[in-house]
Every structure is written in structure tokens, then in C-alpha cells.
């Protein structure tokens, strides 16, 4: 789960990480009031769940209230990578002497949280990582001890040189680690972490992602969720026991198992088609799931054909077939459907499906070819 910058700033503040003052605004008049109240140079920042806001023109410096109003007018309502900007953050534009990067992320290889820090702040860290990896300090944190003070200080000292500044930065690192672990984050970035000419160390921009599997124990984080339309669909599907992700193609897929679902999408493409979605109905033969899944698939106007791909393991194909038959009694559609059944009791299942008149096949590739053919009619 992702959150907005203004939400990340709030979490930082709650954990004692110094962040410049800011006000969230939904309208231009709110922007005007905020800029007037702050009474100094501000930065107006689009709040959308997408990276690269600066390049897209979603972040503007404003020296006067008038500038801020102009920026607010430009940014509110603009489109950034498919997201419409509905709110902006009007933030104190602090003076910057130097910009740094610090981030925490779960690392699959060391099976730990790693701290990444760089004196090259303010730019995309992925670019730094690709072009000058030696400029990134990486450090694996032992989960049993957490980020120790001396470790945070060592990294901070390497970045800041001066011990007083390093102690300020180290304190931010340890707080960031604490909030990372306590909120079940999967990413926590401060970019840039800035040093001001007054020798303050501040978090200017923040990005946080969270572990969906841990949201059950993170009510405060869950309350921050602001899903977009696609995500609302995904969440709704999830609540029905389905994993669904919308894509741009025209062949809807309904598959049992995530790996098989991915392989199904791949195969459609391999044979020249284009998948409309990822959809995993899991291990159940419950007709309701099939009905829910079909409703989601057919709700996508781009879908020209549906490929159902079931491999019976513990679940028997004849049970799945029965579920499908029940579902297809309720769902009325003219979108063509091809069904592939394989594995446990596949023959019995295919036999049962004859009554539906649906084209049935027993291999994935056949199903994909057939679905593509049907989608082109």
C-alpha cells in the first residue's frame, strides 16, 4: 500500500523527524490562505501516488502569495502519469545547503531491512544506483538489535563529515528505522534529506510503502489508504477472495493460482494476443467466486474474449466444472468464453461442460490460441 507525501510527512513528524511546516490544500483559495499564513517562500507540491512529480511540473517554488496562487492553479487538476491532482501541499521552502538521500527497504538477499544513504540526494536513487553505485552506502540491519546508534552515526558521519551534523542525521536514521519497523513499511525514503545554511537537518520529501499482509495490525496506516479507481477494483476483488489486476489488453483470463495466471497472460501474448488482466481465483471451486470473477472480467469493456484456465490439483476439475455451470446459468453475456480444464478429474469435468456448449480444451496453449481467435471475430 502506498501513501501520499503529506501522509509520510505526518508519520515522520509523529516519530520526531524534523519536517518543514506545511498545509494540505484542495482548492486554490486554500493555497492562497496557506501561503499568506506562512508568509515566506513556499513550495507547492502535487499530491499524487506517482513518482517524477517534479519533472511533470507538479512541484513549483513560489516566492510570493501570487506565485503560490498561480502554481496552485497550474497544479490542481493537472494529470501526472494518469493521476489527476486533487490536492497540493503548500510547504515551507527551506534554504538548502546540501541534499542527501536516506532510505530503508526490505532486502530479499540478506533477508533484512537495509539502510541506503547517499550524499547524492534530491535525484532518483535508482539513477544513482545505476550510474554511480559507489556513491550509495548500503547497510544490512540485524533485526534482533535494530539499527544501533553507532551504526547510524557511522553512516551519518560518512555523509556529513562533521560530528554535530552527523549526530542530528543519525537521530533521524534511527527514528526512520523505528517507524519503518513499527508501521510494517516496505519502503521508507527521505529524499532529499537536507542540510540548511543554519545547520539544521530536515526531511523535505518522503515516500512510504507498506506491507499489505500486515495491514491487519496497522489500523492507523490502513486509515491512510486513498486508493485510485484501479486499486478500488483490486481491493474489491480481494475482498471476494480474488487477486485481480487490470491490464490494457482484450482477452480476460480467469485462472487458479498466481503463477499459472501469470503464465496464462504470457502465453496469450506469446501467441499474438493481449491479456486484459491478471486474475487468480485461488484454490476453490465455489461457484460464487466464478460468478464474481466473471462479473469483474465482463465489467471491463475492452474484454473481447475470456480464457478460463484451471489446473485441478487438490480441487477436482469436475467440482470446478459444476461451479462453472452454475455460474454460467446466472451470467448472461455474448463475450465468447473458452475453458481449459486439466489435472484431477479433467475428463469428467470436460464431459460435464459439454452441456454449456462452450469450447473446451485440455491444454493451455490450445486455450490461448482459441481465445485469441475468438477475440478477433
Amino acid at each position: 500500500m502506498k501513501i501520499h507525501e503529506y501522509q509520510a510527512r505526518q508519520i515522520f513528524r509523529d516519530y520526531g523527524i524534523p519536517v518543514p511546516d506545511s498545509v494540505l490544500c484542495y482548492t486554490v483559495s486554500e493555497v492562497e490562505k496557506a501561503a499568506r499564513d506562512m508568509n515566506r517562500m513556499v513550495v507547492v507540491k502535487a499530491q499524487v501516488l506517482a513518482g517524477g512529480r517534479g519533472k511533470a511540473g507538479g512541484v513549483k517554488l513560489a516566492r510570493t502569495v501570487e506565485d503560490a496562487v498561480t502554481a496552485g492553479k497550474q497544479i490542481l487538476g493537472m494529470d501526472i502519469k494518469g493521476y489527476t491532482v486533487e490536492k497540493v501541499l503548500v510547504a515551507d521552502a527551506v534554504n538548502i545547503a546540501k541534499e542527501f538521500y536516506v532510505g530503508l527497504i526490505n532486502d530479499r538477499n540478506t533477508k533484512s531491512v537495509i539502510l541506503m544513504a547517499s550524499a547524492e540526494g534530491g535525484v532518483e536513487i535508482e539513477e544513482v544506483a545505476k550510474e554511480t553505485p559507489e556513491k550509495i552506502i548500503k547497510f544490512s540491519i540485524n533485526p534482533l538489535t535494530g539499527l544501533l546508534d553507532y551504526q547510524a552515526r557511522n553512516v551519518a558521519l560518512e555523509l556529513f563529515g562533521d560530528i554535530k551534523l552527523a549526530n542530528k542525521a543519525a537521530s533521524i536514521f534511527t527514528k526512520l528505522y523505528k517507524l519503518y519497523v513499527e508501521t510494517d513499511a516496505t519502503l521508507a525514503e527521505i529524499n532529499p534529506l537536507v542540510l540548511t545554511p543554519e545547520n539544521e537537518v530536515l526531511a523535505i520529501d518522503g515516500k512510504m510503502n507498506f506491507d499489505d499482509n500486515a495491514l491487519y495490525r496497522q489500523p492507523k496506516i490502513l486509515a491512510m489508504r486513498e486508493p485510485d479507481e484501479d486499486e478500488l477494483q483490486e481491493i474489491a476483488a480481494n475482498e471476494k477472495g480474488l487477486a485481480y489486476i487490470k491490464l490494457d489488453g482484450n482477452i480476460g483470463c480467469m485462472v487458479n493460482g498466481a503463477g499459472l495466471a501469470m503464465a496464462t497472460m504470457d502465453m496469450i501474448q506469446l501467441y499474438g494476443g493481449s491479456p486484459a488482466n491478471f486474475l487468480d481465483i485461488g484454490g476453490s471451486s465455489n461457484p460464487q467466486k466464478v460468478i464474481d470473477a466473471m462479473n469483474i472480467l465482463l465489467g471491463d469493456k475492452n474484454v473481447k474474449a475470456v480464457m478460463i484456465n484451471i489446473f485441478g490439483g487438490i480441487t477436482r476439475c469436475d467440482d470446478v466444472a459444476k461451479g462453472l455451470i452454475k455460474a454460467l446459468e446466472i451470467i448472461i453475456t455474448d463475450v465468447p468464453i473458452v475453458v481449459r480444464l486439466s489435472g484431477t478429474n479433467a475428463a469428467e469435468g470436460l464431459e460435464l461442460l459439454k452441456q454449456t456448449g462452450l469450447p473446451t480444451v485440455s491444454s493451455m496453449s490450445e486455450a490461448a490460441k482459441k481465445a485469441i481467435e475468438l477475440s478477433k471475430r
Binding site: 530479499r108 533485526p143 499482509n213 495490525r217 503463477g259 490439483g313 487438490i314
Partner: protein, 293 residues
């Protein structure tokens, strides 16, 4: 021969009285797996399918000498169950539970290392040594004994491919579903190493997917350390970046973890990558023929 589990494995089932635990205990027992104990707090003295139930793993281990555990408890309690097994001296733990928070797994990892406990999963279908022991939720009838080692990050796709192998007369030594989570126990290289050292295994099939760089590491390991042929398949070539494909681990992030990168790594290591599952038996046949020349 086989890796990790065989006829002598003594299995304890954690969460044996739950719906899934009970169901799969029956299936595993039917397959011939040597299940010696179950655990369900407060139900000591009961039995499931004739298997004695204990209040905790330590008591089960003490009474039965169990050396392997399978975990069916719900995700919020899974990490605790893994630690309980590890601290009770169980050598191999298979965690089926799906949806375990990543931080839980991160915290568990160094303790397992200290205790020398091996973990498979979480969020995995388990493993099977055909004809000897089924420890997991895999459908027994698609497997048959043979000389192919099999490792996969996904469930149903495993069944799809194993079914193809068996239909094409490629039996298996051991098949391991390592699970789809970003932080998990044994991974590709851990198992490749074991298959390399298992005299009965003649070739390995590896099913990867998008996300992380375990496949790239596997490719490097194969190039540097393996003598036995490996054939691979990667799911998720059409998956868009930033979207989680069902598995918590199957996500392309920051432009890395793509299928292209993984396929390139395998190709560089001389590992043929199937375009679709149905190609795998033929690739395997060719590779093994090459070797026997």
C-alpha cells in the same frame, strides 16, 4: 535418493486440528508420509487420524522424535509457530501459511540461522519426494518417482509443469515449492546445491517468476557450480512494473526483477528457458541427450 525429506522423515503438523491442517494431514498420511504428531494448544491427548496431538512442539518432539514440521496456522501466528518449531529442535520447517508479514519473516530469519533450522516457505505448497513423503498441499497423483529435481516459486504452475513432466515420463526425485513471498526460507541456490549433490537427481527444472533476483543468482550458481543440466521457465513476462501479481514477491520494482533480465541471465548461464510450459519436456530431453553423448 532425494533431498530434504524421505521415508524416514518424522513429521509433526502444527495446527493439526484446524480445517486445512486436518484435511491435509489426512492426505499426507494417505500418501504414506510418516506423520508422528500434531500440535494444537489445549488439545493434548486428543488424536487426528490416529495421530497423537500435543499442546506444543517441544512436547511433540520429546514424545515422538519429530524432526520436520509443517505449519498450517493462520498468517498472524505463523512466525511464532516457526520459532516454536525451531526452538524445539525441529530441523526442517515447512510453512504453508499465506499472508505472513515480511517483518515477521525478517525477525525469524537470524534465529533460525542460529538454531540451524531450515525453512521452506511461507506461502508455499510444500514439497514431495514421490513414493516416499508428501509434506504440503501438493496434489499427489501428478508426481511419480524419477530422476528430475524440481523447484518452483509458484503453486498451480508447479502442478501444470510437473504434470507435463510426468506425462512425458520424467519422474522426479524431489519437488519443492519454495513459495512466492519476498523473504522466504530456502531459495533456488540452496536447493540447486542439494540437487547437485544428490546422486539420484540427473537434471533440474526451475520455475521462476518476476520480482527479486533469485533467478539471476540461480543462473550464476548454475554457471559456476553445477554439472547437471537445468531447464527453466519464467512466469510474468507480460506483468507491468509496480503491480503485485498475486504473490507478495511477484512484483517488478524500480526496473529490476523483470522476466527479460532473468531470461537473459539463464541464457548466459547456458540454461534453456522455455517459452511456454509445454516446451519444458522437450528442452529437458535435449539437454539430457547432450549430456549422455
Amino acid at each position: 535418493m532425494s533431498i530434504l525429506v524421505n521415508k524416514d522423515t518424522k513429521l509433526v503438523v502444527q495446527g493439526i486440528t484446524g480445517r486445512d491442517g486436518k484435511f491435509h494431514t489426512g492426505r499426507m498420511k494417505e500418501y504414506g508420509t510418516n506423520i508422528v504428531a500434531g500440535v494444537s494448544p489445549g488439545k493434548a491427548g486428543e488424536s487426528v487420524d490416529g495421530i497423537p496431538v500435543f499442546n506444543n512442539v517441544a512436547a511433540a518432539v520429546k514424545a515422538t522424535g519429530a524432526n520436520t514440521s509443517i505449519i498450517f496456522v493462520p498468517a498472524p501466528y505463523a512466525a511464532d509457530a516457526i520459532l516454536e518449531a525451531s526452538e524445539a529442535g525441529v530441523a526442517l520447517v515447512i510453512a504453508i501459511s499465506e499472508g505472513v508479514p515480511v517483518q515477521d519473516m525478517i525477525r525469524v530469519t537470524p534465529i533460525l540461522k542460529q538454531n540451524g533450522t531450515l525453512l521452506i516457505g511461507p506461502n508455499c505448497p510444500g514439497l514431495i519426494t514421490p513414493g516416499e513423503a508428501l509434506i504440503g498441499i501438493l496434489p499427489a497423483m501428478i508426481f511419480k518417482p524419477g530422476n528430475i529435481g524440481f523447484i518452483s516459486r509458484s503453486g498451480t504452475l508447479t502442478y501444470e509443469v510437473v504434470n507435463l513432466l510426468t506425462l512425458n515420463d520424467f519422474g522426479q526425485t524431489t519437488c519443492v515449492g519454495i513459495g512466492g513471498d519476498p523473504v522466504a526460507g530456502l531459495y533456488f541456490i540452496d536447493l540447486l546445491e542439494r540437487f547437485e549433490n544428490d546422486p539420484a537427481t540427473k537434471a533440474v527444472v526451475l520455475i521462476g517468476e518476476i520480482g527479486g533476483d533469485a533467478e539471476e543468482q540461480a543462473a550464476q550458481f548454475i554457471a559456476e557450480k553445477m554439472t547437471k543440466p537445468v531447464v527453466a521457465f519464467i512466469a510474468g513476462q507480460t506483468a507491468p512494473p509496480g503491480k503485485r501479481m498475486g504473490h507478495a514477491g511477484a512484483i517488478i520494482s524500480s526496473g529490476s526483477g523483470t522476466a527479460e533480465e532473468k531470461i537473459a541471465a539463464f541464457n548466459k548461464a547456458g540454461v534453456p528457458v522455455a517459452k511456454e510450459p509445454a516446451e519444458i519436456p522437450e528442452l529437458l530431453r535435449r539437454k539430457m541427450a547432450e549430456l549422455s553423448k
